[in-house]
């Protein structure tokens, strides 16, 4: 780890001011990605701004949507039962230690290709609420560790419409439990969405799957559908082709859960 200045602001404005003033600042939420990155010296920020003093934690159920504060822990989402597929997803993140430190806001803002939540954000059509306004799921993830988040802005909460039915299936990395590929299939008010994480540089929707399932919501509807894996991630754990194959397998298994 290299030296950096540590700050723990107690308000949103103070946090953003610190970020504006920093030469090369980063926000720290649960630190589940940032801390190992710092330890491995893959990042050398001048300032680390710890958001844990902000009041951004909690789960709120409205008529047809669930709003989860950005600092809410994975273990807290896992313990909820408002959207069972989302709770199951949270329960499959990392291990108990990670679930007790990691936050939904951190996971989403980081846009790690192996993170689980982005699949749910895409499949459920969530809205990401930030200090610079709300952003639709479809606009949020823009690339490897890249989002539509304004510079210096902070994710404050995520609002998930409660789906009619939804299921998440993932193929975990055997060591880290990151998603090699994770797929969430959801039907919300008749609208079918398939969110994929792990496979590509960032989470995306598998549109041809969505169309097939809209015509015929069944496992068989996905048979033979192509997944274009040309731009997928390829690393020591899995080739792009293998990831492409897993998108189909995980999607079929998710559909099987809810048909």
């Amino acid at each position: 780890m290299y030296r950096f200045n540590y700050h723990k602001p107690d308000g949103m404005d103070a946090a953003q001011q610190l970020m504006a003033d920093a030469e090369d600042g980063v926000y720290l939420s649960g630190g589940m990605t940032l801390i190992p990155t710092l330890k491995a010296r893959l990042a050398s920020p001048t300032d680390v701004i710890d958001l844990s003093g902000l009041a951004l934690s909690g789960i709120e159920l409205a008529d047809d949507s669930l709003t989860i504060g950005a600092l809410t822990l994975h273990s807290e989402v896992a313990a909820g039962n408002e959207i069972s597929s989302l709770s199951n997803l949270a329960l499959a993140i990392g291990d108990a230690q990670v679930r007790n430190r990691g936050t939904i806001g951190g996971s989403i803002a980081n846009s790690d290709p192996g993170a689980d939540y982005p699949a749910a954000v895409m499949a459920l059509g969530a809205t990401i609420n930030t200090t610079a306004g709300a952003i639709d799921a479809d606009d949020f993830f823009q690339g490897l560790f890249e989002t539509a988040l304004e510079p210096g802005a902070i994710v404050t909460s995520v609002t998930f419409p409660v789906p009619g039915r939804a299921a998440y299936e993932k193929f975990p990395n055997p060591a880290s439990r990151y998603a090699v590929v994770g797929v969430m299939v959801a039907e919300t008010n008749g609208d079918i969405r398939v969110g994929v994480t792990g496979a590509g540089p960032c989470a995306y929707r598998q549109r041809n799957f969505e169309q097939a399932l809209a015509d015929n919501f069944s496992v068989a509807a996905l048979d033979g559908l192509e997944v274009d894996y040309a731009e997928f991630n390829s690393d020591i754990h899995a080739s792009a082709e293998y990831r492409g194959h897993l998108v189909g397998v995980m999607a079929r298994r998710a559909v099987a859960q809810i048909t």
């Binding site: 190992p36 193929f171 055997p174 060591a175 020591i236 754990h237 080739s239 293998y242 194959h245």
Partner: protein, 740 residues
């Protein structure tokens, strides 16, 4: 030898003496020593897998404030052996991560920054990264002076040595066979997976006396190796073994200690050096990647008529792959008239391999036990029946020479056949795989001193670092011998100046050989106590018995006295000759060979290639289990490591010889949630040469799991996958290519 039903303490399961300190974090490991004025050492490592070193200049580092010493090859004797060249590179760097220089500075961070100020000029060479590359015609040479088996009349080669074992006529045996099966198998480099990185602290005083505190499996070996590399006398060095956070063979060689001593000498300060995980992966010894061929022929009734094995092992950058033990083990479970075994020790530009639990045996036995499984399938025989038909037994000549005394292979096979996990049908959708395991075990040299405190409680001093609960085992054997309760005894791993010479903890020798010394030292105590009692009672010592922890007059001896306990004798020892201490040393022979039978039921997800291990059973002959819970723990740990190696673990190198997964996030050891309950059954066929019948139990457990797992995957899929690890992408590819 004591019969099992006579034993009072051996075979019980008391809490281990080192347990509480470990789980509370109080135990002091290799990195936990703080000395006044201590500074911190770091190693500069080669960025190339193969390069000639043109020059090393440490002056830039030395010019930095807070940097107190820097060393490179020129600070060590020119004449050095492989180990010395591994600790600090001389003419060439031979693997990515090879140590080139080291610095010591007031803080670890400063030491690390100082590494950047060291200038090394390299002439980069082509790396040799696999056996195939190394033995190909015209291969680049890792060592231009290396000739196979030292035969300088032949051209230089990357094959350091060829080992051969033969008996009878294998070709004739194959000609007599009704069925012949063969296979070719590859097993990757794997890491022992010890949690504690290598760490030491060294200090040298004004008189040149060196003290090293380190995490090691053999502090006497650290003394020998460090003295040799520094060109000094062992009498100048004291080594203290810290608590050890796992070793499995990986902590038998020095890496940091000679550097730390040299840095201490130059800085006149104590120097601590601690590797990070990445350094452990890149620069310390894993076990060999192997390429093995196995062939076996048999009559229709299952009688094996011939077997051959060709075993080639990557040694890393210096000779010394565990191919010898591989050759010894590969056919050990079978009573054969005709066989031939050939083993190759092959240099490549990767870290020098180290021991890993039954070094060399898992890879070779994987090949042969897979072929034996295929043979059972060809013959339509139960795999245990086929093994029983050919099993080695008392009197069988081992492939490596001696005749086996009493061994437990048949007992393990019979126990497996009768085990409810084996008689139960294979679960729907699963495959089942069986394999035998073997390790010859070793004896070697151990010393023990047994000291009596003035209240009659007992201290054992011995020299075997405790990597598997051996202090508890020593206390149990001492308690049994002395006839006193377990909790009145402490065992202590003494430093190199506080106990007699002792070989390393390895070869599953500690409970056997050091245990033998402890038992003999306790017998020495008993003999002395009898003399003290005789003196007290004014009778002859041979008229005294030691019964249940007390001196008593022999039946018929006319002495109307109360028995004397150790505490009683201690209370009056001032009048009978002073304090009592016992001692013994052994060069133990006759370490009984350990055999096992393992099987697993597992399912393969044909859509993803992922293996789900549903059940695992290990049966092993322990001779006699001193502490059964630790024997079971060894069996379970070996199964876990073997499953990891079979299914997921491997060192992944890029084309330049740089490891791509040098950390536990990418090097995939199994965790508890990956594993089923590993059921164990201990078989006890006592080893006649040990007073309580002990056989080593630490290594045999990892010799069967690779093949058991491979055979179960074979059973589940209907075809064989011959390359490990059977990771999901590899299995899916195999499934797809089978299904066309």
């Amino acid at each position: 030898m004591a019969e099992a039903h006579d034993l009072k303490v051996i075979g019980t399961r008391p809490v281990r003496p080192d347990g509480v300190e470990k789980v509370t974090g109080r135990a002091n490991f290799g990195a936990d020593l703080y000395l006044p004025g201590m500074i911190h050492g770091k190693v500069l490592r080669s960025p190339y897998a193969h390069a000639r070193i043109k020059s090393v200049d440490v002056s830039g580092a030395l010019a930095m404030e807070g940097v107190l010493a820097a060393v490179s090859r020129s600070d060590f004797p020119e004449e050095t052996d492989d180990l010395g060249q591994n600790v600090i590179a001389r003419d060439k760097v031979l693997y990515h991560g090879h140590a080139v220089a080291a610095v010591a500075a007031s803080t670890p961070l400063l030491a690390e920054q100082a590494l950047d100020a060291i200038k090394v000029d390299y002439d980069v060479l082509e790396p040799v990264l696999s056996i195939d590359q190394a033995i190909a015609d015209g291969a680049t040479l890792v060592n231009e002076q290396m000739h196979t088996n030292g035969d300088a009349s032949q051209p230089a080669s990357n094959i350091a040595a060829i080992t051969k074992f033969e008996r009878g006529d294998a070709e004739k045996g194959f000609a007599e066979a009704d069925v012949v099966v063969e296979g070719e198998f590859r097993v990757p480099m794997a890491h022992q997976g010890y949690i504690e990185p290598h760490a030491c602290t060294a200090t040298i005083n004004e008189e040149g006396k060196i003290t090293v505190w380190c995490s090691t499996q053999g502090h006497f070996d650290v003394r020998t190796q460090t003295a040799a590399i520094l060109g000094t006398s062992i009498s100048k060095i004291k080594v203290i073994a810290s608590e050890i956070g796992g070793g499995f063979g990986g902590k038998l060689s020095v890496y940091l200690e000679p550097l730390a001593v040299k840095l201490s000498e130059l800085s006149n300060r104590p120097v601590r050096m601690v590797m990070n995980r990445e350094e452990v992966f890149r620069a310390t010894g894993p076990t060999s990647a192997t390429w093995c061929k196995a062939k076996v022929g048999a009559k229709k009734d299952g009688t094996i008529t011939a077997a051959t094995a060709w075993l080639s092992y990557e040694a890393g950058a210096f000779p010394g792959a565990p191919v010898g033990p591989g050759c010894m083990s590969v056919l050990a479970p079978y009573d054969l008239e005709n066989f031939s075994i050939e083993g190759l020790d092959v240099l490549v530009n990767k870290p020098k391999v180290a021991a890993y639990r039954a070094p060399g045996a898992p890879q070779a036995m994987h090949a042969m036990e897979c072929v034996i499984d295929d043979l059972a399938r060809e013959l339509g025989m139960d795999p245990i029946d086929l093994r029983l038909k050919n099993a080695a037994d008392e009197g069988t000549q081992a492939p490596y020479g001696p005749k086996f005394p009493a061994i437990g292979l048949k007992a393990c096979l019979e126990a497996a056949k009768a085990h409810p996990n084996y008689t139960a049908p294979v679960p729907e959708g699963c495959g089942r795989g069986v394999a035998c395991g073997f390790w010859f075990n070793i004896g070697m040299q151990s010393s023990a001193e047994v000291l009596i405190r003035e209240d009659g409680t007992v201290i054992i001093n011995e020299g075997s670092p405790d990597i598997g609960g051996s202090r508890a085992s020593m206390c149990l054997m001492a308690a049994e011998t002395l006839g006193i309760p377990y909790d009145r005894i402490n065992a202590h791993v003494a430093d190199t100046e506080s106990t007699g010479y002792c070989n390393m903890t390895g070869g599953s020798r500690t409970t056997f050989a050091t245990g033998m010394a402890v038992v003999q030292a306790c017998e020495d105590i008993i003999a002395q106590c009898k003399e003290r009692a005789a003196m007290t009672w004014d009778i002859d010592a041979d008229q005294v018995d030691w019964d249940d922890g007390q001196a008593v007059p022999k039946p018929g001896v006319n002495a109307d006295v109360d028995p004397l306990s150790l505490a009683d004798i201690a209370k009056t020892w001032g009048r009978t000759g002073g304090p009592i201490l016992g001692r013994a040393s052994v060069n133990a022979q006759g370490a009984g060979a350990g055999f096992s039978v393992n099987w697993t039921d597992l399912a393969v997800d044909r859509e993803t290639g992922k293996v789900d291990v549903k059940a695992y059973t290990a049966i092993q002959d322990a001779g006699r289990a001193i502490h059964p819970a630790y024997v079971e723990g060894q069996m379970q740990g070996g199964a876990a490591q073997g499953l990891g190696w079979a299914l997921n673990e491997e060192y992944i190198y890029d084309d330049n010889g740089v490891m791509e997964n040098a950390g536990f996030l990418d090097y995939r050891v199994p965790v508890a949630s990956d594993l089923p309950m590993i059921d164990t059954q201990i078989v006890e066929v006592p080893n006649p040469t040990h007073p309580y019948g002990v056989r080593g139990v630490g290594e045999t457990p990892i010799t069967a799991p690779l093949a058991a797992t491979s055979n179960a995957v074979r059973d589940a899929l209907g075809f064989r996958v011959s390359e490990l690890p059977m990771s999901p992408p590899r299995l899916l590819e195999a499934i797809d290519s089978q299904e066309g």
